[in-house]
């Protein structure tokens, strides 16, 4: 049995990150195009606040630009590293929120009003958002990483610092809770 030896990770971003580290303007643009909306979506779904999500996405990239200069390909995926940074920044903000409750919660669209206006898709989106945000933090994070960010269970386990089985359990419980919360939408409308 081999111990302490890990196979080099095949990172689809490796070449791009190496060019970013050299300051190649085209690579900088390409990495931003590939990752910015992805990081923003992660922060947006974790925090539920668009302004805070933008701050997090910006901070992730600030660190990514620095990291690209010293990035050693093969040790891990740059995308996973970016997710870890983004998650940690989100956790910091969520912790701060618990310690210092916000004066005003983030602006939320009233699903009923949206439905009245005929915007069923927006109403459904809001229902799902509220249901996901109501999940316990670990379940919500696992769901966001695996469903929305399309990471593998292995990558999510690495980011959450738990086993793959634990991630599967978190996902299973999260999805069960969502089925209950969104049961009235099961018939396929919206």
């Amino acid at each position: 049995m081999r111990q302490g030896v890990t196979a080099p990770v095949d990172d689809p971003d490796a070449e791009l990150v190496e060019r970013v580290g050299r300051g190649d303007p085209a690579a900088v643009q390409a990495l931003m195009a590939r990752k910015l909306s992805r990081m923003l979506a992660l922060a947006r779904r974790m925090l539920g606040d668009p302004v805070e999500a933008e701050d997090v996405a910006q901070e992730v990239f600030l660190r990514a630009w620095k990291q690209a200069r010293v990035w050693k390909p093969g040790a891990g995926k740059f995308d996973t590293w970016m997710h870890r940074v983004a998650l940690n920044l989100c956790y910091d903000r969520l912790r701060r929120r618990r310690e210092e409750p916000m004066a005003e919660p983030p602006e939320q669209v009233d699903p009923a009003r949206s439905a009245e206006a005929g915007l069923i898709a927006i109403a459904t989106s809001e229902r799902v958002r509220v249901a996901v945000e109501a999940l316990p933090e670990r379940q919500r994070t696992a769901l966001i990483l695996c469903h929305y960010q399309e990471l593998s269970n292995i990558e999510a386990a690495e980011l959450l610092g738990v086993s793959v089985e634990a991630v599967e359990s978190l996902l299973s419980r999260g999805r069960r809770a969502l089925r209950g919360a969104l049961a009235d939408l099961a018939d396929g409308q919206g």
Binding site: G23, D24, V28, L40, L143, L178, L185
Partner: protein, 102 residues
């Protein structure tokens, strides 16, 4: 009970806005620049050459200035000598008679 496919469909309904132009600009403003990463080494070499040329030109200017100054001093000295040697010049004092008789 809702099946997996329908739940995934519902989850996909929660969309978030893509990154705004303002955010993109803010991110780009802090991106690595080529000169910081050494891509402009030829330009750095050119800067060195320019600095060297500037220094050489400065030294040449100083040298020329010194040469012109020495020529001007020499000319002024010559003019003074010529003026002193001219007849009737105040610098040539006629010897007194008593001295001449000696």
């Amino acid at each position: 009970m809702m099946d997996d496919e329908r739940l995934d469909q519902l989850l996909d309904a929660w969309r978030v806005e893509p990154a705004s132009a303002t955010l993109r600009d803010a991110v780009m403003a802090r991106a690595p620049k080529p000169h910081a990463a050494g891509l402009r080494l030829p330009f750095a070499g050119a800067r060195l050459w320019l600095a060297g040329a500037g220094l050489a030109a400065g030294l040449a200017g100083l040298s020329c200035g010194a040469a012109f100054a020495s020529v001007a001093v020499r000319d002024a000295r010559d003019e003074a000598l010529v003026a002193a040697a001219a007849p009737g010049s105040a610098s040539i004092v006629p010897l007194p008679e008593t001295v001449r008789s000696l």
